[in-house]
């Protein structure tokens, strides 16, 4: 048959297939073969991300005696070029990447990673897919690409599936759709790429044949140690700018002010009562099972109504901490203190965000907001049409926030990375000079313990020293 005469490399649902090649040839061409023989289709298969390497070997050893049916991408001519010129550190990052066109650039939030990427897009001039953690960021990339290149990028995600040679998407959508999209983009950009190593998400990189890859992040390390995967699926770390060298140059100086609120007597009574329910239940269990723990409680809640009651009590406790009425009063005071200055409030829950929004009638940026409303809220804060906004985790990373110099974090348990990311954004250098970072926690509750844990981190330590 004809197909067995000429080796043929194809893209199939996020993988590469190599047909018409016998085992002998595979062994001869590759010392460490990425190929696995797939008897279901009668040819060799490997991950699409090996395309560049595999094609190079075939080209070198077989010259033009093979068919490359993978690439479905084309060069792009951008209608216009409207880019800011890069600072030295940004130029260094860009040229480090351009040498191999494959790897990770580490720069703190607020130091213009996006600019570096936009320059890379212009220079490489090919079909490109930008992958970001959340849809807000996806839309933000859409806007930035439009103003920098004049291209109305396609959108894949948020219920939209509009693929075009320049497109933006989210990690979740990318990992779902990459089997269909993997050969349409020659260039992939992973924004906040520390999100990529998740088991399912890494398919977004693995199932694409794109030879050119750029990862952007402020915090490449992951607690699970999986960040090493980035080397393989994006490329090595090419440029690192630490938060320390960035501080004071581009970011504003800042104070961290921590405010403890107390529960109202009614809240405290309820809080204690709920705590008692949990404690008594656990104490009772420990009479029989000395090492009865939270996990045991979770599994017992399936068949034991009092275990379930204890669990509900625990969650209600958390909810009281989160939504303590006193927090609203503190926010009122902070609003008075900073009248005329834009304020951003971050919340730990949607419910608290809506409480604040309803109390002060300020816009809240939650996941239900559509693109147009988000833009109105963000622009409104910048133009002074809105005095403040309240946001949940939606804004956790990388969103281009208007310049503010007052940020309030209300309760909400979160890890080091989230707090760092928040800091980065809030503390942009701005025309108001020194910035204020408030943290409101509920006194004598777990809320406070979580805040202490957060403060042990390096970035916070540094602030404390400077305050002294």
């Amino acid at each position: 048959m004809i197909e067995s005469c000429v080796p043929r490399l194809c893209f199939e649902q996020g993988t590469l297939t190599l047909c018409g090649v016998e085992k002998r040839l595979v062994d001869r061409l590759w010392h460490q073969s990425p190929w696995v023989f797939d008897s279901r289709v009668g040819c060799w298969r490997t991950d699409a991300m090996h395309y560049q390497a595999v094609a190079a070997v075939l080209h070198q050893r077989l010259a033009s005696d093979w068919i490359d049916a993978v690439a479905d991408w084309k060069p792009i001519v951008f209608p216009r070029q409207n880019l800011h010129s890069l600072r030295t550190d940004q130029s260094e990052a860009l040229s480090a990447w351009l040498r191999t066109r494959r790897g990770v650039v580490v720069m703190p939030t607020g130091t213009g990673k996006t600019e570096v990427a936009l320059h890379a897009i212009q220079q490489v001039s090919t079909s490109v897919l930008v992958v970001s953690p959340v849809r807000d960021l996806m839309y933000q990339w859409h806007d930035r690409i439009l103003s920098a290149t004049g291209v109305d990028a396609g959108i894949i995600g948020d219920g939209v599936y509009r693929v075009s040679p320049v497109s933006v998407t989210t990690y979740d959508s990318a990992s779902i759709h990459m089997p269909r999209l993997g050969n349409q983009f020659e260039f992939l950009i992973f924004d906040e790429c520390h999100h990529l190593p998740g088991q399912m998400r890494r398919d977004a990189a693995r199932m694409s044949a794109a030879p050119f890859r750029l990862g952007l992040t402020a915090t490449p390390e992951r607690r699970d140690g999986e960040h090493q995967v980035l080397d393989e699926i994006i490329g090595p770390r090419l440029y690192t700018q630490g938060i320390k060298s960035a501080r004071g140059k581009t970011l504003a100086d800042y104070d961290v002010i921590r405010i403890s609120v107390h529960l109202t007597p009614e809240e405290r009574t309820r809080y204690e009562a709920l705590g008692k329910t949990v404690r008594e239940f656990i104490a009772k269990q420990r009479e029989d099972t000395p090492n009865y723990d939270w996990q045991a409680l979770c599994s017992d809640s399936g068949h034991n109504p009092s275990a379930r009651a204890a669990m509900i009590a625990f969650h209600s406790k958390r909810s009281i901490e989160d939504r303590a009425g006193e927090k609203l009063r503190i926010i009122e005071d902070l609003f008075r203190l900073h009248t005329g200055e834009p304020v951003i409030i971050f919340c730990g829950s949607n419910a608290m965000a809506r409480d604040i929004s309803l109390r002060f009638l300020i816009p809240c940026l939650l996941s239900h907001c559509r693109k147009r409303e988000r833009q109105d809220i963000l622009a409104g804060l910048q133009e002074g049409r809105y005095p403040a906004l309240v946001a949940n985790r939606v804004l956790d990373e990388g969103i281009d926030l208007p310049e503010v110099n007052v940020a309030i974090v209300v309760g909400g348990g979160s890890g080091t990375r989230q707090a760092l990311q928040r800091l980065g954004r809030v503390l942009r250098k701005n025309r108001y000079g020194r910035a204020c970072f408030y943290e409101i926690v509920t006194a004598n509750t777990r809320d406070e313990l979580r805040s202490r844990a957060r403060r042990r981190d390096e970035a916070f330590q540094k602030i404390k020293h400077e305050e002294c």
Partner: protein, 405 residues
């Protein structure tokens, strides 16, 4: 389908099996009355917001001894899925928000304790805004976030759904959810191969096929499964399940990645009583159905010369292409002959059919029964064949078999 957070499955480390949550009359008879109450909650509270409906469901299930939180959440999801909610145009709520927040911006910050500097009292400003909009503040508060999913209002309670059916749905949904972390699936089938393969294909699964006597063994997974163990096709297995449940005579074994990255087996057979709401059509067309009945008639009258008929009894396959001729004719001396009926189809379909026939030309003895119009289109097909105008008679085929074998 349920989310991961609503799924319940027991991982038995001893036997290395996973048992999806299942409510059956023998052990969970009391759920019938409970679920009837849940349906009534939805029927009695059309117009209420989703959050309140869920609260009511939760309260009803709170004191049921053996009802974990996840089961409650799963019931909410299944009830929601079979109901209709008012989808307040997010534009409407967004417009209202914009008006309210813009108007309030002038009076920022709204304070509860006014002083000389700040006298914009919260209650007063809210009353003013309500007055300007011609609504009460309570109305504004109720519609300000009406586009948030939890605040969607129930428009129509589940229709044609009784407690038994909802429990059946629950059981299927839990088994589907248990398949999300599945790595691969093997199905042993002795009937309805076409149904099994069709739904597997619809779920975008890849197959390996082998024959074991009367039984076929189908192994399903996805393209990347040969490269590494991956849960990426778990959702495909879950989507495939209702189709599989609509077939007869099979058993299934799925390998599921469980806690501590250990592998567990999920086993199921067509006799386990999980009910599909898919009802696969018995025949592709009435033409085939009429022919089958005609032949059976001859067979009962002992006029079929020793030939027996079976529907879709053979699977021909080469890699990912499969071909299941409509009928398998078998004879004690003459062996097996496959019969494919080519009826009235579009030219594209006919060309595709011709390709497939050519591909499997040498894999078996194939006889074609082809309509005259289709025969004009595919006259170059080199097969033993009979043509027919509108109806195919069993005797035509028997005559062909007699003269050619």
């Amino acid at each position: 389908m349920l989310t991961k957070e609503q799924s319940i499955a027991e991982f038995d480390f001893q036997r290395q099996i996973v048992i999806p949550d299942r409510l059956v009359r023998r052990t969970h008879g009391h759920y019938l009355a409970v679920v009837e109450d849940l349906l009534r909650i939805y029927q009695d509270h059309v117009g209420e917001v989703r959050k309140n409906l869920h609260d009511r469901v939760r309260r009803r299930l709170q004191d049921v001894l053996d009802c974990p939180t996840r089961r409650i959440a799963a019931f909410c999801k299944l009830l929601d899925d079979s109901s209709e909610f008012e989808n307040t145009q997010s534009a409407d709520a967004a417009r209202l928000r914009k008006r309210v927040f813009s108007q309030a911006a002038k009076s920022h910050p709204l304070v509860q304790t006014s002083d000389q500097l700040f006298d914009r009292d919260e209650a007063k400003i809210k009353a003013e805004i309500a007055h300007d909009l011609g609504m009460t503040w309570t109305m504004i508060e109720a519609s300000l976030f009406a586009d948030v999913i939890e605040f969607h209002r129930l428009r129509q309670a589940p229709q044609d759904l009784d407690a038994t059916k909802l429990l059946a749905r629950y059981n299927v949904a839990q088994t589907q959810a248990a398949l999300y972390p599945a790595l691969s699936m093997t199905v042993w089938a002795s009937d309805d191969f076409k149904i099994v393969l069709r739904y597997a294909k619809l779920a975008r699964l890849m197959h390996s096929i082998s024959r074991n006597g009367e039984e076929y063994v189908f192994q399903f997974n996805g393209p990347a499964s040969v490269l590494r163990q991956t849960r990426r096709y778990g959702v495909s297995f879950a989507k495939f399940l209702p189709g599989l449940l609509s077939a007869r005579h099979w058993r299934m074994h799925a390998t599921v990645l469980g806690p501590a990255k250990r592998r567990f087996a999920l086993r199921l057979t067509s006799r386990d009583g999980l009910q599909s709401e898919i009802h696969s059509q018995d025949f592709d067309s009435s033409l085939e159905e009429a022919f089958f009945k005609d032949w059976q008639q001859l067979q009962t009258n002992n006029e079929s010369n020793g030939w027996n008929i079976a529907r879709e009894g053979t699977v021909l396959f080469r890699h990912q292409t499969v071909f299941m001729p409509d009928f398998l004719l078998s004879h004690p001396q003459h062996g097996e002959v496959l019969l494919e009926i080519v009826g009235f189809w579009t030219p594209e379909y006919l060309r595709e059919k011709a390709n497939r026939l050519r591909q499997f030309r040498d894999s078996a003895r194939i006889v074609l029964a082809i309509s005259e119009t289709a025969n004009q289109e595919l006259h170059e097909l080199d097969f033993l064949k009979v043509t027919f105008k509108t109806h195919l008679r069993a005797k035509q085929i028997l005559a062909l078999l007699r003269s050619e074998l």
